[in-house]
């Protein structure tokens, strides 16, 4: 139960993008198409998974004084390896993501989870944490890309990341006369981000209110029961 909660917390409660506001730079920049979003998401999941596992395995032997430099060396190496692999096997993705692949190094989610979670927890828990957070990031990125691509270009298109000429699906949703190209550029990214972050905050707030109300009701019921018991005793 606890592990499941730890895995799912990245989706809503502690969503790294819309909840914790981590890694927004890349989210704003690459969420123009679902191709980019998925590619970036997969790169981040792989990096996060490997870094969490390595750091969790090493957590007992890394001296506390130099843990951050050690994490940075590990994360930077992993990102470079991922970048090389993307360059080699998916040149189209490498071209459209550009420098944002190497910028995963400074994505706060990776170092944040290393420091906050993997350095204090076992390997299995760290794997779950990486998958949960990575998927949370990917889903957030996809949500942004879906909105921006559809409103900005009117076409929802997904091409094979290993062969750019192969289109997997392509739907025209909005006729080209009615698209808002603002959504393909930077201001559209900020707008979409703000709205989605606001919606998540509203959802979390409502949930918290509900939990508080429930706690209050339970407290009142307990007080009532206590009072009744007292009354009975007095009788």
């Amino acid at each position: 139960m606890n592990r499941w909660k730890n895995f799912t917390s990245g989706f809503v409660r502690e969503n790294p993008v819309f909840g914790l506001y981590l890694g927004i730079c890349s989210v704003l920049a690459v969420s123009t198409t679902i191709n980019n979003a998925l590619g970036m998401g997969v790169c981040v999941i792989i990096t996060l998974l490997l870094s969490n596992v390595i750091i969790s395995v090493m957590r007992d032997i890394v001296p506390n004084d130099i843990r951050i430099p050690v994490y940075i060396v590990i994360i930077a190496s992993l990102v470079t390896v991922v970048e090389m692999l993307v360059n080699a096997f998916s040149p189209a993705l490498a071209e459209s993501l550009g420098t944002f692949i190497s910028l995963i190094v400074v994505n706060c989610i990776i170092l944040g989870r290393a420091e906050a979670f993997a350095s204090k927890n076992g390997v299995v828990d760290s794997i779950l944490d990486a998958l949960g957070m990575g998927l949370g990031y990917t889903v957030s990125l996809l949500a942004m890309a879906l909105i921006r691509q559809v409103i900005g270009t009117g076409v929802l298109e997904f091409t094979n990341p290993f062969d750019a000429s192969q289109i997997i699906f392509s739907f025209t949703i909005i006729p080209s006369d009615f698209t808002v190209s603002l959504f393909s550029s930077a201001p559209g990214a900020f707008l979409t981000f703000g709205i989605l972050a606001g919606l998540l905050a509203m959802y979390n707030g409502k949930k918290q209110e509900k939990a508080e109300a429930e706690a209050k009701a339970a407290k009142a019921a307990a007080a009532k029961a206590a009072a009744e018991a007292k009354l009975k005793e007095a009788k």
Partner: protein, 169 residues
């Protein structure tokens, strides 16, 4: 003192391991990346020579031919040149194919941001038709109305002609 030495050694050891990992990844990916790059570069030449042509890069003296970027031998005796020159308000990058007898067999611009209606006409079929089949070692015609851009391309083509006359013929 002892502790800082230990810390330094620990960090150095981590760096050595990471370096090993990077070297390994580089060994695996470098040939694939180089192949991808060559393919992408040569893909623009396929337009001139047809798909499936084999390209061999030719080394040349960049100082003598400052505007020429790349030279490939395409197939048995055709040559492909890629050159960039400043036009009216932007760099114009083009590729030109030269056949065995030194005539222009194809021309295409890859990048040109000069004035629409004027300098941009260097990228049109009109210009390609104008210089097609002309001897590369002689000055090609310029486009009336797009003087600056086509003069620039002309001078870069003259450089290509020079290289062809001096090194190939």
């Amino acid at each position: 003192m002892k502790k800082s030495l230990y810390l330094a050694l620990f960090l150095a050891w981590i760096c050595v391991l990471s370096g090993g990992l990077l070297a390994l990844a580089n060994d695996v990916t470098a040939p694939v990346i180089a192949k991808n790059k060559a393919q992408a570069e040569a893909a623009s030449f396929d337009e001139l020579f047809g798909a499936g042509t084999e390209y061999v890069e030719v080394t040349f003296d960049q100082a003598t031919y400052p505007h020429v970027e790349k030279i490939f031998q395409a197939g048995a005796d055709n040559y492909a040149y890629k050159a960039t020159i400043y036009g009216f308000q932007s760099d114009i990058t083009f590729i030109v194919g030269v056949d065995a007898s030194g005539n222009i067999m194809g021309f295409a611009t890859l990048a040109n941001a000069d004035t629409p209606g004027f300098g941009l006409r260097v990228s049109d079929q009109e210009y390609v038709d104008l210089i097609m089949g002309k001897d590369i070692t002689k000055n090609v015609d310029t486009l009336a109305g797009a003087t600056v851009s086509s003069k620039a391309v002309q001078s870069a083509l003259a450089e290509v002609g020079q290289h062809y006359a001096n090194e190939v013929k």
